[in-house]
């Protein structure tokens, strides 16, 4: 398995190594396990402090599962999730802990430091709670709610995300999609987290609201020194907000590099094809689009060797036989492809 932290431990906040999540497929009366859906299959990535790591891929590639495994909403099958925690260290100095080895109580403590923003702003807010209750809930759960002081904080948060204090007593259905997403963001910030896992936070929003929300997320990052793991399928959004980007394909990370590097000089054929398929908002833009044949591989029955080989136009025999290793080809540019050195791929 690849060594991801490349020896450098510079400011690494989250370091995921060899993360796996297999969902069993059960059949029959006795619910016998007949196979596994390898939703996340050996994912390694890292997030530095104060940066945004974009995680892109097509639907069903395991982006969301990976992010949920990180805070153990799903119990991973294997791997390590190292997180630099302040809450768990005795002397106030942050120390690296493996989240997968923590007890329930310890995990609850760590969850103060890791917040989550969900895709669907309608279903992720309880319709029977007012905005004030929704934002206060994390504080109540973690025993940090103090009458008066916390209420003030909630009002501050609400104003910070662009809502008004008189919205406090309203219910989620009274808001538009963009406003609901802002409530979700305010809730995520209630405990002053250090890492925020954003699971497709803008994909359900209209273009103009999407821009507002992205700007808000960027402002908040600067103000509170947040780190984001930004899961999305929209490559332009991810490029806009991310410092580094990881591309996933069928449960594996295909490529990971800084945003500029990945979009300008992709090393994996899948990244190249994905970039060429993005529709450009420019009617005079003409380029040869690479049409990937067929559909995304089935994670319960993946192809042999490199999972991408049936759709890859550069595939050779080796790709069918052996799975490529995820390796650091250039400094901070990781790729899982046998032919990465020889291929000249087209970026944007």
């Amino acid at each position: 398995m690849a060594q991801t932290t490349n020896g450098k431990t510079d400011n690494i906040l989250l370091d995921v190594k060899g993360l796996k999540k297999y969902f069993p497929i059960q059949k029959g009366l006795l619910r016998r396990t007949v196979g596994y859906v390898k939703a996340v299959d050996d994912v390694s990535l890292y997030v530095r402090e104060g940066e945004t790591l974009g995680l892109v891929g097509e639907s069903g590639c395991g982006k969301t599962t990976a992010s949920r495994c990180i805070i153990r909403l799903y119990e991973p099958t294997a791997g390590q999730v190292l997180f630099k925690s302040k809450a768990l260290s005795a002397n106030g100095q942050p120390k690296m802990v493996n989240l997968l080895e923590l007890t329930r109580e310890e995990m609850t403590k760590v969850r103060e430091e890791i917040a989550m923003i969900f895709q669907d702003p309608i279903n992720s807010l309880n319709p029977r709670m007012t905005v004030a209750d929704i934002i206060a809930e994390p504080m109540v759960i973690h025993g940090k709610y103090e009458k008066g002081k916390s209420e003030e904080l909630i009002i501050q948060l609400l104003e910070r995300v662009g809502l008004r204090p008189d919205h406090l007593r309203r219910y989620p259905h009274e808001f538009s999609g963009g406003q609901r997403q802002r409530i979700g963001i305010a809730r995520a910030l209630a405990l002053n987290p250090r890492l925020v896992l954003c699971d497709e936070p803008v994909s359900a929003l209209d273009v103009s609201i999407q821009a507002q929300t992205l700007n808000l997320l960027q402002d908040l990052q600067e103000e509170f020194n947040l780190s984001y793991l930004f899961v999305a399928h929209d490559l332009s959004v991810v490029q806009h907000i991310s410092d580094r980007v990881a591309v996933m394909y069928v449960g594996k990370v295909a490529e990971m590099a800084s945003a500029e590097e990945l979009y300008a000089n992709p090393l994996h054929p899948y990244t190249e094809a994905l970039l060429s398929a993005v529709p450009k908002p420019d009617p005079l833009y003409k380029s040869e689009r690479i049409i990937m044949q067929g559909d995304v591989a089935d994670p319960s029955n993946p192809p042999s060797g490199c999972y991408f080989h049936p759709r890859c136009r550069y595939a050779v025999d080796l790709c069918k036989q052996k799975a490529p290793e995820f390796r650091e080809l250039k400094p901070d540019h990781w790729v899982a492809c046998h032919r990465a050195e020889e291929l000249k791929l087209q970026g944007i």
Binding site: E58, D206, L275, P281
Partner: protein
């Protein structure tokens, strides 16, 4: 099918493009508790054969209602309260007989359940919906879906007479079961579904999202429509599948000289598909132009803001996105004057909030509804 007359498949030269649909000052209103929502308010556009007209706008701006109004499928309590939709129709029977005689139909005057609109809907004007899962019936196979459309709408000539005869015999028949299945397999192959002979018997849940959307396209195109209304056809799909679907649509449009009305909120998709674009905001069309003019020389502040608020691929600028401030207004309490004025960066106090802008021409085939361009 060797029996398909050749005239249906040849591409007409550019200059002989005839108008197919003409919408004039269309108004659709929803009378709900609490007031009247003007979902579409004064829409004017025309669509020519072989042309793609894109309609863009944010959710709730009336894009989908416009499409449904053309097919007379506006859901209750919505009503077409004004305007005209003229459809220049060459009826199927006449087309089969080799005639190109055009008859004009006022779609808004038709009985929405009547014989004529039922022939047009699905047969001559087909529609692809956004959500492929909920628009296919889970208990029918892909083949059954196509068979239904084909058996209702596709007509074949009973017999074609040899070259020595001047006129073809104007008799026609419906397709048989076997032919319908054959058409279904052909259509699935054309939209790029692997192993169509087996897939024709698959149920929707056995297909992936991209395949379902392709089945939707196959259903819509199996009747060889003159116009296709595509309502966010790729919004639910991944970029790689989206690129495939758009390619299929472009290719089929070229071979069949079909008009497409393409509804989307994705500016990237529309840039590569449309010839002409209509921008809508709160039920009103705010700008209409050829695709290049709209992207390179937008006039209306809303169009400009919309174009600037999408993140673009390419060298990173590190800049913030230009966002449109505020929110889409409540459709029951629309702002006075120009509906966009509370969010408009070019707002002129005392003018924009008092006067309703008119639809003015600012260039060749370039129209805009904004007080900045009025004398």
């Amino acid at each position: 099918m060797s029996t398909i007359p050749a005239t249906q498949l040849t591409t007409a030269p550019q200059d002989t493009r005839r108008t197919l649909i003409e919408v004039r000052d269309l108004k659709v209103e929803f009378n709900i508790r609490g007031g009247v929502v003007k979902a579409v308010d004064g829409l004017t556009l025309d669509i020519k054969c072989g042309q793609t007209v894109g309609i863009i706008g944010e959710s709730g701006c009336g894009k989908s209602v416009t499409a449904r109004a053309i097919l007379r499928m506006v859901p209750k309590p919505g009503k077409i309260t004004g305007g005209q939709i003229l459809y220049y129709r060459v009826p199927r029977q006449k087309k089969l007989a080799g005639s190109n005689e055009v008859e004009v139909i006022e779609l808004t005057k038709l009985d929405p359940d009547g014989e004529v609109i039922r022939q047009i809907r699905g047969g001559e004007i087909a529609m692809i919906f956004q959500e492929p899962m909920s628009s296919l019936t889970p208990v029918y196979t892909a083949g059954t879906h196509i068979h239904e459309a084909v058996s209702l709408h596709r007509l074949l000539p009973l017999k074609t007479v040899g070259d020595q005869m001047v006129e073809r015999i104007t008799q026609y028949r419906k397709v048989t079961r076997e032919e319908a299945r054959e058409i279904a397999v052909q259509m699935l192959r054309r939209v790029g579904i692997p192993k169509p002979e087996q897939r024709v018997d698959s149920y929707p849940h056995q297909l992936s999202g991209g395949q379902r959307q392709r089945v939707m396209i196959a259903i819509a195109l199996s009747t060889e429509p003159d116009m296709l209304i595509a309502d966010e056809p790729t919004t639910a799909l991944d970029v790689s599948i989206e690129a495939q679907i758009l390619d299929i649509m472009r290719e089929l449009q070229q071979t069949a000289n079909m008009a497409i009305m393409f509804i989307t909120h994705n500016l990237g998709v529309i840039a590569s598909m449309a010839d002409e674009i209509v921008v809508m905001y709160m039920g009103k069309q705010v700008e209409r132009a050829k695709v290049v003019d709209l992207f390179y020389n937008p006039k209306h502040p809303y169009t400009k803001a919309l174009l600037q608020s999408v993140p673009k691929l390419g060298p990173k600028t590190g800049q913030r996105l230009a966002s449109i401030e505020g929110m889409v207004p409540d459709p029951l309490h629309l702002p006075t004057g120009c509906v966009f004025h509370p969010r408009c960066p070019a707002f002129i106090a005392g003018k924009c909030d008092r006067h309703v802008p008119n639809w003015v021409q600012v260039g060749d085939n370039h129209w805009v509804r904004c007080l900045l361009y009025e004398e």
